[in-house]
């Protein structure tokens, strides 16, 4: 009897033990990372890696699990980044004082929730066409959405808003609405990027606690999602839509939900990118261009479409290679090459594109396929 109670207790305690240890470890990491890793660019790399892992894992929900295809994921990331930067700057102004860990418990959750909500809303909008469009066409729509987002933000500069509004004011109602929209858009800094309402930099609240903690949490969520009933239904839908619908899987609901979930993940990743400690204090529209979307696709396909751990590996690998090339490019060793206009980033893109083409021809399911990396000898479920 008592043995049973203690067993139950320890089981219940064990359930809380892992997250508890995790939170304590993350708090310790938040306070100590500066001392363990003194190089701030290295810390930035670690945080970037975590964010990109999140980008890859969220894109994997659409491209891998649902079998849809999005090449506009950077758009959702961008929406998240702008939203969290705006929310954090205004909260920072309202709270006053310095950036601190204690205050980050107010600012970061609010900023991330705003990012997730906003990105999810756009994910819903982009997901709606996925009911009528498939394959190439859906890809084009997602690309179109991401480009519209980037072009609208970067072309809305102070001044354009004013003249455009003036021209439209003749049309009552619609005109003033457009005017308001273009003025508020132009406050986002256009091509130069957003760096707070007073252009004094976005407050960087999200320390390692938030960046790594949220990433870990959402990766676990993605894993649970894949092996849940929802994930199985999604896979059934991917394999054969008509058969899945016949056994009661509603394609509309599942497709749109997968878009919304992926967008929420990307929004949170962007939200972290926008306000992460050691990051840049401004959000640039050109960080969310087609190349960024293509990088995200590369991450997912390299690892294996449908594999959560594969997407994580792909995200980490691509980020590290981007940074490695930036470092090599800026090193004095390459002075001679650089003066001849040798573009290492172009070389990286060539290599990635070639790998993608070769993978598609030789092994279209990616390195891991749908398998997951696991510790221990558990059976592959599903």
């Amino acid at each position: 009897m008592t043995a049973e109670v203690t067993a139950g207790l320890s089981k219940r305690f064990g359930k809380f033990l892992v997250p508890l240890v995790g939170v304590v470890a993350l708090l310790g990491l938040d306070l100590l990372l500066d001392r363990v890793v003194p190089d701030s660019s290295l810390r930035q790399l670690l945080a970037m890696t975590a964010c990109n892992v999140l980008v890859a894992v969220s894109l994997n929900v659409i491209n891998g699990m649902a079998g849809q295809f999005s090449i506009g994921h950077a758009g959702f990331v961008g929406i998240g980044a702008y939203t969290s930067a705006i929310v954090a700057s205004h909260l920072h102004g309202a709270l006053g004082g310095e950036v601190s860990l204690v205050k980050s418990f107010v600012v970061v959750p609010l900023a991330l929730v705003a990012s997730a909500t906003f990105a999810g809303l756009f994910g819903f909008l982009v997901g709606l066409p996925s009911l009528r469009l498939k394959g190439d066409y859906l890809a084009i729509v997602t690309l179109g959405f991401a480009e519209i987002f980037r072009l609208v933000i970067s072309s809305a500069q102070i001044g354009t808003g004013e003249t455009a509004g003036a021209a439209w004011r003749a049309v009552r109602g619609l005109g003033s609405l457009l005017h308001a929209v273009s003025v508020s858009l132009s406050s986002l800094g256009g091509q130069m990027g957003y760096s707070g309402p007073a252009s004094d930099g976005v407050p960087l609240y999200a320390g390692p606690f938030w960046v790594f903690g949220v990433t870990a949490l959402l990766c676990v969520a993605a894993w649970r999602l894949k092996f849940s009933g929802w994930g199985r239904a999604l896979r059934a839908l991917r394999e054969d839509e008509i058969a899945a619908a016949a056994v009661g899987v509603d394609p509309t609901r599942y497709k749109v939900t997968s878009f919304v979930l992926a967008a929420v993940g990307a929004g949170v990743a962007g939200g972290l990118l926008g306000i992460m400690r050691d990051g840049a204090p401004s959000v640039q529209p050109d960080n969310f261009n087609f190349q960024a979307s293509f990088d995200a696709v590369t991450m997912v396909i390299l690892g294996g479409s449908g594999s959560v751990t594969g997407a994580m590996l792909g995200g980490a690998f691509v980020t590290l290679s981007i940074k490695a090339i930036e470092w090599v490019q800026s090193s004095p060793l390459l002075e001679g090459l650089r003066s001849e206009g040798f573009d290492l980033n172009a070389l990286r893109m060539i290599v990635y594109a070639a790998i993608l083409i070769a993978l598609m021809i030789l092994r279209p399911e990616g390195l891991l396929g749908e398998r997951e990396l696991r510790w221990g000898s558990k059976e592959q479920p599903g």
Binding site: I140, L151, L356
Partner: protein
């Protein structure tokens, strides 16, 4: 001002239509979007540029222009066939279907596009290269050349054996093969033809815009793609109509204060068409699942 914009838009639209034809023809025979088409356009612009700069001043402008167009067409045709051979044919031979059947050609096409764009960046560097100024007012030349090309294309598609084979392949690949059409050869020829049309468009575009750069394909490629979808992808007259509409629409937008919004508008048109009438203006309304 409005008339001027219409004329400019017509010239722009004629060029866009030439590029759009390549998208639409490849879609007709392969049922896939050749994203690398915009990069073929860019490489052709460079090929034409190098030849024209090489022989400019030595002969009359017309000869130089024709030499440039021919060189660009040759380079584009070779590149188009090469892309089909290396990247698309292995996928096709493996057969369609499978759980990633729709995604695989798409990723390959985007991969080829990114590859070519960065190869150009590496080889030619990112700087803008100016085209030689051969004509004082290139617009009439552009319109005349584009219209002539379209008439010729209509002739090829309607009256030659190859055109017939292409149309047969487009309507039913299996039946076409059973009737003795060598589908692989027709597909390769279609790529060559579509790419050379893009090359003509590229050289004409550069006469108008006067410079070539590695990312030039993205903008014009998007507009051409939207034109093809707007007209009804797979339909040749649709691509021409769509190109003209996009060209004129773009010029009209430039009259408003939102002159920077052309690209946004092009994407909005695309999304709108896909949602309301995915078959496009002249496409068959027969239920084709897209």
């Amino acid at each position: 001002m409005l008339f001027q914009a219409l004329v400019t838009g017509f010239a722009q639209g004629a060029m866009i239509a030439l590029v759009a034809l390549g998208y639409t023809m490849v879609f007709g025979v392969l049922k896939m979007i050749n994203f690398a088409h915009s990069e073929v356009f860019m490489i052709a612009a460079y090929a034409g540029l190098f030849v024209m700069v090489g022989i400019a001043g030595r002969s009359s402008p017309v000869v130089v222009a024709v030499a440039g167009v021919v060189a660009a067409m040759g380079a584009a045709a070779v590149l188009g066939v090469l892309i089909e051979r290396v990247a698309y044919r292995p996928l096709r031979l493996r057969g369609k279907g499978g759980k990633l059947g729709r995604v695989t050609p798409l990723v390959t096409a985007i991969g080829v596009s990114v590859l070519l764009q960065n190869v150009a960046q590496l080889l030619f560097t990112a700087r803008y290269r100016n085209y030689p100024r051969l004509f004082d007012n290139p617009r009439p030349v552009i319109v005349a050349a584009a219209l002539l090309t379209m008439v010729l294309l209509e002739g090829i598609v309607k009256f030659t054996w190859f055109g017939k084979a292409m149309r047969a392949l487009s309507s039913n690949e299996e039946a076409a093969r059973l009737m003795g059409i060598r589908t692989s050869r027709v597909i390769a020829k279609t790529f060559a033809l579509g790419s050379s049309l893009a090359a003509i468009g590229a050289v004409l575009y550069c006469f108008d815009q006067s410079s070539a750069y590695p990312t030039m394909g993205f903008k014009i490629g998007t507009q051409a793609f939207v034109a093809a979808v707007l007209g009804g992808i797979g339909s040749i007259s649709g691509a021409m109509l769509g190109g003209l509409l996009i060209g004129i629409l773009g010029e009209l937008v430039k009259l408003t204060p939102y002159s920077g919004g052309v690209d946004v508008l092009v994407f909005l048109v695309l999304i709108g068409v896909l949602l309301v009438r995915p078959a496009g203006l002249l496409g068959s309304t027969r239920a084709e699942k897209v």
